[in-house]
């Protein structure tokens, strides 16, 4: 425990920023682990460039990791940091604009060399010209302190010693916020212990040195404490959206009894799902890294034909390529889950940054009348449950289903209350095993309730049949160009998807006072900032209702009723108004959009402003 005075805080937002090679992601995620194990609620937002190694010290090469930790439950990684750790001038330049006046700034003074200043476009050293006077600046020679501390570690080059400065800063931050460095030390032992003992030793020494430096330096007068949050009881782990989505798919495979087959082609920010699932072979998971996204989707359809759980994952540019295959799956009426981890576009856009720009594409981006159910995850850990829900619908209704996530949910993390397995749904499908019309098998004879067609697997004697992309005759599934049949089949496919509305929960409204006139409607990854904004508005004594859509196609059956109960409906989105268009056209509700496409999540503060100013007009 520190000998310095301890100040209580209810929440802190820290941002680590440095060069891509500075190890900021590792520093951030280790600090996150320390906070999680201490029982804080947490929410993180990694922010890294698409370039693997942009030139060192350059502005495009800056990588960041923001962590929000609190003694109460929180909904977002936070709008702006209270503390900025900047490892070089470029990191300072690109991030200082987000640090509010009076905020704490910790910089590596050693990195503010002539050359680095020039690369970042500083004419003068900001540490010396008074431009940072509004902040609490701690200019710490992190590099030289680290190198000095590691002098005695054998087998470590000066260059390697220098690279441990991120761990020195982790140690310092751990001291400042009263975190134990034990989990980080254990992590390093595990990570490098087996292969490079001296690297593990160097990094551990650097963490300890950073911690000790905090204790002895006069630069920091107080330390801070953020007490554990009162979260629901149970077992927790910290999880990113892509991890949760992967686990959700493995769980769905177990719950359905079907082997999981994933077809994928690497693309940011979806690749981590392919990589994660490739490690679960003992669960019978087959991962197929295809030659392109079309093959990835096609192979998943082929696997589904054979009775596997067929899944394909990608992001915008790859999802576009899958469209024709999704159309085939609509016609074949086979289950398929397509995960779109949305990123900023169009075209290659900003690969590592989030957006909600693909909603209308997954709704309508196919030829002809081709409805597909759409499910969207709302937080990193929710990706687990959203994946199970997407699989449930796909299997039960024999249809492709789009599962939407985004780059923020994918890479962001939060504590996840681990579910009890017996609370998860049974997804076991029934396969056709015998003729369903006398001694004949009709592959398009539908279940009266779900309108799903029978799923007869190759290998089942007596049920041999052919399916394909040509229009089917009702019931028999034979090729048909009959005009009335096509009209009927088009309507049946639409009805089948529309009917899912009867099988999903009603839209729930959060309106504690019950007298709000304004409803905010969110979907997907904007859940956190919208819910956080609603809390702030209410804390100001004003009223606002919030409803969140998990299912976008079909909408919950009471959606129209809910929307019409309010004088005004506000729809915030990270696009130019896509849910807005759907809501307006389906419900004739004159909703208002709040739209920003900057490549980072909406901020609670801006949404609070938007809500409050709209509320004032009512």
């Amino acid at each position: 425990m520190s000998s310095k005075p301890v100040e209580q805080l209810s929440q802190v937002i820290v941002r680590f920023a440095g060069d891509s090679g500075d190890g900021m992601q590792l520093t951030g995620s280790q600090f996150t682990s320390e906070a999680a194990l201490l029982g804080n609620d947490i929410s993180t937002l990694p922010d890294f460039p698409a370039e693997i190694r942009a030139p060192a010290g350059s502005l495009p090469g800056v990588s960041g990791f923001q962590l929000h930790f609190a003694d109460h439950d929180i909904l977002t990684p936070g709008d702006a940091p209270n503390v900025l750790v900047a490892m070089n001038p470029a990191a300072l330049k690109t991030n200082i604009g987000d640090l509010p006046r009076g905020g704490t700034l910790i910089v590596d003074a050693d990195a503010f060399t002539e050359r680095n200043l020039q690369k970042a476009g500083y004419a003068q050293n900001p540490l010396e010209d008074g431009s940072l006077d509004e902040y609490q600046v701690h200019a710490v020679p992190l590099t030289s302190l680290t190198v000095g501390a590691l002098k005695e570690v054998e087998g470590v080059t000066p260059r390697e010693a220098e690279r441990s400065k991120n761990m020195f800063s982790l140690g310092l931050m751990s001291w400042l916020y009263g975190r134990s460095i034990k989990p980080s030390i254990e992590f390093l032992e595990e990570k490098f212990g087996a292969t490079r003992l001296e690297i593990a030793a160097a990094n551990i020494k650097a963490i300890r040195a950073g911690y000790a430096f905090g204790e002895t330096t006069e630069s920091f007068a107080v330390t801070y404490e953020v007490r554990p949050a009162k979260l629901a009881p149970g077992t927790y782990r910290n999880i990113t959206g892509n991890q949760a989505l992967s686990l959700g798919l493995v769980a769905a495979s177990r719950l359905s009894g079907l082997p999981l087959f994933l077809g994928a082609y690497p693309i940011t920010p979806a690749s981590a799902i392919l990589e994660e699932l490739a490690g679960y072979k003992e669960f019978g998971v087959r991962t197929f890294q295809a030659e392109d996204e079309i093959a990835a989707a096609g192979a998943a359809v082929g696997a589904a034909f054979g009775g596997a759980l067929g899944v394909t994952t990608s992001a915008g540019p790859g999802i576009v390529l899958k469209a024709e295959t999704v159309g085939l799956a609509i016609m074949l009426e086979l289950p398929l889950v397509i995960c779109d981890i949305q990123r900023a576009g169009p075209s290659t856009g900003m690969p590592t940054k989030p957006e909600q720009g693909d909603l209308l594409m997954v709704m309508y981006g196919r030829n002809s009348e081709s409805p597909v159910p759409v499910v969207a995850a709302r937080s990193p850990s929710d990706c687990f449950h959203a994946a199970i829900e997407a699989v449930r619908i796909a299997l039960k209704y024999r249809t492709p289903v789009y599962l939407l996530s985004d780059a923020y949910l994918a890479n962001g993390s939060e504590p996840w209350l681990l579910p009890e397995l017996d609370t998860l749904p049974d997804l076991t499908p029934t396969f056709a095993t015998e003729p369903n019309a006398g001694d004949e098998f009709l592959p398009y004879l539908r279940d009266e309730q779900t309108l799903a067609r029978p799923w007869a697997l190759p290998g089942t004697p007596g049920l041999e049949h052919r399916i394909g992309g040509l229009e089917k005759a009702d019931r028999t599934g034979n090729i048909s160009y009959d005009p009335e049949n096509h009209d009927l089949m088009t309507r049946l496919r639409a009805q089948k998807v529309a009917g899912i509305a009867g099988d999903i929960p009603e839209l729930d409204v959060d309106d504690p006072g019950g007298d709000a006139k304004l409803l905010v409607l969110s979907w997907g990854g904007t859940f956190g900032p919208v819910a956080a904004a609603a809390r702030r508005v209410r804390a100001n004594g004003k009223h606002v209702a919030h409803a969140h859509l998990r299912h976008i196609n079909p909408f919950p059956r009471n959606t129209g009723d809910v929307l019409r109960r309010y004088e005004k409906v506000l729809i915030p989105e990270m696009n130019l108004g896509q849910l807005l268009q759907l809501v307006r056209s389906q419900f004739l509700v004159d909703a208002i959009g709040y739209n920003r496409v900057r490549g980072f999540p909406l901020r609670a503060a801006e949404l609070q402003d938007a809500i409050e100013s709209l509320e004032e007009t009512l």
Binding site: Y280, R286, V301
Partner: protein
């Protein structure tokens, strides 16, 4: 999943492989002969009908699955090898066949074809090559000869064609063969070997399209005497001609030239030769350049099969880590407890 529904399959005949669907190819289309040959050949394989799956793309050729009374899928243009990859890797118990055309396999689906072949996925690919786009009514295809005059190339096509056999060999295929639609015996021989081959088997079938590219292969289709057909037989000298007077020999640079059958250097065919060079050189032997056209099996080697390798990894993972335990998986990594207040 049924293991192998082996239900008195022995008694099956060609008739059992016919469906009740009206066959809709043009009269005289080479596809009829291929269908008939396959229907009479399938019972011979001893594979239960329900364990056989035909998957096709789009085109005239791709209508094939509708006429085979097995499981089948008529999918989308060019993608059948990708779809079949998913099926074959998850269902090793099935006998999976891909039917495709020259446009389907070599234009829009070229990427899937070459990758399926190099992976050596366990399925058979039958490419019906009529050197034209049939279904879209007669545009030139990637196998049409340079200068081909069609509706889309009134002054002749400008692109150099693919040689499907060379392409398949270049794509690391482990089995490559060629057959002729009207040559039931020759086709059956190649198909039998293809069916026995574990891994990807690629068979080009010369197929006449009397409507848009009639007589494209007359030189070998109507060649009962073997004047132009060079029938490749493993381990035998490569000779042909009415009197079997012509032969092939290899030049020192590896390429192949025609020679007299009594030449000292007549090439002995070896489909299992360790390098692909011989098969590739043979694939360059054409009617135009050598006065004969090889048919039969160019290449037939063993190489680990993608689906088997994948299954083996799953088995190894289970052996090492035990059968996956979902609760343990969810609880893996660093966890912490929050107690009841």
């Amino acid at each position: 999943m049924s293991e192998n529904g082996g239900n008195g399959n022995g008694a099956l005949t060609a008739k059992d492989y016919r469906t009740d669907q009206e066959v809709r190819w043009c009269p005289g289309c080479g596809d009829y002969a291929i269908l008939a040959a396959l229907q009479s050949f399938m019972p011979e394989l001893g594979i239960a009908r329900e364990n056989t799956v035909f998957i096709s793309g789009i085109g005239c050729a791709a209508r094939f699955p509708y006429y085979m009374n097995t499981y089948g899928m008529h999918s989308i243009h060019g993608r059948a090898p990708a779809i079949a990859t998913g099926l074959a890797t998850t269902r090793p118990d099935l006998s999976v066949w891909v039917v495709t055309g020259d446009g389907d396999a070599l234009s829009i689906g070229g990427n899937h074809l070459i990758h399926a072949l190099r992976r050596n996925v366990n399925f058979k690919i039958l490419l019906f090559n009529n050197r034209i786009y049939g279904l879209t009514k007669g545009q030139y295809s990637p196998t049409s000869e340079l200068g081909k005059v069609t509706k889309s190339t009134p002054m002749g096509s400008l692109d150099w064609p693919f040689n499907p056999i060379s392409l398949a060999i270049g794509a690391e295929a482990t089995f490559v063969g060629r057959a002729i639609d009207t040559d039931k015996k020759g086709m059956t021989d190649v198909l039998r070997a293809a069916a026995e081959h574990r891994g990807s088997a690629f068979v080009e079938i010369f197929q006449n399209c009397p409507i848009f590219n009639d007589d494209a292969f007359d030189y070998v289709r109507d060649d009962k005497e073997g004047v132009n057909r060079i029938v490749l037989r493993d381990g035998e000298p490569i000779v042909w001609g009415a009197e079997r007077q012509k032969a092939l020999r290899q030049r020192s640079d590896g390429s192949i030239e025609a020679c007299a059958a009594d030449d000292a250097g007549v090439l002995v065919h070896s489909a299992s030769h360790e390098t692909a060079a011989l098969a590739f050189a043979l694939s360059r032997v054409t009617q135009a350049t050598h006065g004969g056209t090889p048919v039969g099996i160019f290449r037939n080697i063993e190489r680990p099969v993608y689906d088997d390798l994948m299954a083996e990894q799953l088995r190894l993972a289970e052996e090492k880590r035990g059968k996956g335990d979902l609760a343990a998986l969810l609880h893996s990594g660093e966890t912490w407890e929050v107690g009841r207040p």
